[in-house]
Amino acid sequence: MTSATATAEAPVGRTYRPYSQPWWRRVLLTREFAIIGLLVLVFAWASANVANFNSPLTVYFLGLDNAEIMLIALPMALVIITGEIDLSVASVVGLSSVMVGLLHQDAGLSIPLAGLIAILVGVVAGALNGFLVAYVGLPSLAVTIGTLALYRGLAVGLLGTTAKTDFPDKWTTLAQEHIGTSRYPVIVIPILVLLVVFVWVLHFSSFGRGVYEIGLNDEAAHFSGVNVARTKFVLFILTAAVSAFAGIYITLRTGNARGDNATGDELKVIAAVLLGGVSIFGGRGALHGVVAGVLLIGVIQSAMRLENQTVNVINIVIGALLVLSVMSTSVLAWISRLSARRAGLGNLRRRQAVASSSRTTER
């Protein structure tokens, strides 16, 4: 479905802004910077108007509460840019949480060793997803709906309704410690490390260019030398491995290993990724937008909770924001087409733009 646009407008896989505009316009006037701008606006507005928002605790809790979403959103963005999706991430979080609990308390392993094994279990879980999607060729939506239930079932089945709660204080405090005397929790460090890694992978490596090409047209990507199956396989493994790491973090932060930890978080992650400007059809998106998407949702939730809004109202606002941001692309294409028609068909460039935007809307 992306083939027409891809061949007509993007002979190279990455999406470059038209070079008729100066560089700063090409960089700044994007969906990603729209979200960053909105994030700055909301943060500034809340700091000025919401009681208690402007305290060091706000940033600290923002970091703690959104860490797992932020972590998983990074690889998830890459998966969605290839045009696939992974719905099993939150179940992998639950499975990894249970693994850490069982291995530490029943098998007596140390936390780092238990965590390492939990991540390996995550790798296996991701490899199953990746194998079925990339090599068997099944649709990722169906595969990961299945493994969402499968991994959650394993997690709950291993522990039942009980919980493992006896973790060493050293580790549970570390999970919520501040970095030095700053207002940032320690979990920010692994987030930053992973962010650097994923920015490099997606935006500065040939692997990342392959990710975009697959999302635009996987056949074209295949013929231009991208190993489509391997790329997808690796991405599903990365996603599950990072999810397993997030599971370890949640377990230590709450001191609680349970099978139903993080239930429903897959949708929060996907919502943040889409809000950050990644196209659900694949081929488009950037990590600075994703980071801003996660933070924007976090800041809005934090500010509205401080205003004593109920969770339902908060969900309505976040949901509406997401729908609007996804809609904005096609609505604005329609508006620009109208304005183009009113101005009369001028030069060739504009006519091409009209044609391309109408194609975009028709999809």
């Binding site: 809790f61 109202v313 606002v317």
Partner: protein, 350 residues
């Protein structure tokens, strides 16, 4: 996707999303300005802000305990009542709301914990900032709350159920128990106490069978049918689980044993209303959640005012419910379970 009108698109996207975000937050600002100003002024008891965090919102049980009981108590002592919470009961769903309360510096939190451990570190942070924390209905570990308001003791539940069944069958005859799962901790503790109670005070009542419906509606229904078939002289059934009692009542309602075999246990009024009104069930027990919330609110106020610290032997007065004393482990007991009959069942909606 890559058209030359990117600039217009992006600008309008900013405007559209910004308008939405700001109007949404702006609207909330007006609506709750009095609530947020109340947070700061919690110094005296008359301005005490008490924030209720139920397991999840939209749960009739917590509507009864919080919106009905808790709110009434907070209004009586002229405090400020708030209720926030997650939309689904997940282990760590309450954490961000507890964090927010810590940021706001609310004076007291009344929590029914989704998990005994998961909210603990957040609660401890709030407590170290001076917030008093009362748990009710579901406790956390004892070190991360000041007080636990316990709805009923195991002894109280066992005794009430045995007394009710004895009353209904004339203190003599065969009875059976329809429990939850065979390894359910609470139910097994209650059943043991019931057996002791029966042996000690009701020698003419014979417990002939204990069956397990696994808290599954259909299984409980089938087990009830089997019980009646296996024991033709059965006079009564105790089902100390809300799923079991409802399924058993549904079976009795359509069987020839209706009115001949007594049924009691733990149930909720909305599940049992029909069967109490049509005479299938004479009475069943549970606690009164609105009294529970009411007591928890007064306990929170007593902690904030410094009347009690939560240690054993402290006592305080909880409005219409009278005087309560803190027991071991910082626990306050609401009292004996509440018995629902057709005379009082319509006062409850949960």
């Amino acid at each position: 996707m890559k058209f030359s009108h990117r600039r217009l698109t992006a600008c309008a996207a900013v405007v559209a999303t910004a308008t939405l975000g700001l109007t949404a937050c702006g609207g909330s600002d007006n609506g709750s300005s009095n609530a947020s100003s109340g947070n700061g002024g919690g110094g005296s008891s008359s301005g005490t802000t008490v924030t209720f965090i139920p397991k999840n919102l939209g749960n009739p049980y917590f509507d009864a305990s919080d919106k009905d009981g808790g709110k009434k108590a907070v209004e009586e002592f002229k405090g400020k009542y708030q209720e926030v919470g997650p939309d689904t009961a997940t282990p760590d769903g309450q954490v961000s709301f507890i964090n927010t309360a810590a940021q706001q510096g609310v004076k007291a939190l009344v929590i029914s914990a989704d998990d005994p451990k998961a909210p603990c570190s957040a609660i401890k942070q709030a407590m170290s900032a001076g917030t008093k924390v009362v748990t009710f209905d579901s406790d956390t570990s004892a070190d991360c709350r000041d007080l636990f308001v316990n709805q009923a003791t195991a002894e109280g539940i066992a005794k009430t159920e045995v007394d009710e069944i004895a009353k209904q069958i004339g203190d003599t005859g065969e009875i059976a128990i329809l429990s939850a799962a065979a390894n359910a901790t609470n139910q097994n503790a209650w059943i043991d106490l019931m057996k002791k109670d029966l042996a000690a005070d009701h020698p003419n009542i014979k417990l002939v069978d204990t069956v397990y419906g696994n808290d599954d509606d259909q299984t409980s229904f089938d087990k009830t049918a089997a019980l009646l078939q296996d024991h033709p002289n059965l006079k009564g059934i105790i089902s100390p689980t809300t799923v079991g009692i409802a399924a058993a009542a549904r079976y009795l309602d359509t069987s020839s044993s209706k009115g001949k075999v007594a049924l009691t246990g733990l149930g909720t009024p909305n599940q049992m209303r029909k069967y109490v009104k049509d005479g299938t069930v004479t009475s069943f027990a549970l606690w009164n959640p609105s009294d529970l919330g009411y007591l928890a609110a007064y306990a929170a106020k007593a902690l904030v005012d410094g009347d009690i610290t939560g240690k054993s032997g402290d006592s305080f007065t909880a409005g219409k419910l009278g005087k309560f004393t803190v027991g071991d482990n910082g626990t306050v007991l609401l009292g004996d379970p509440f018995v629902f009959t057709k005379d009082n069942i319509d006062q409850f909606n949960f």
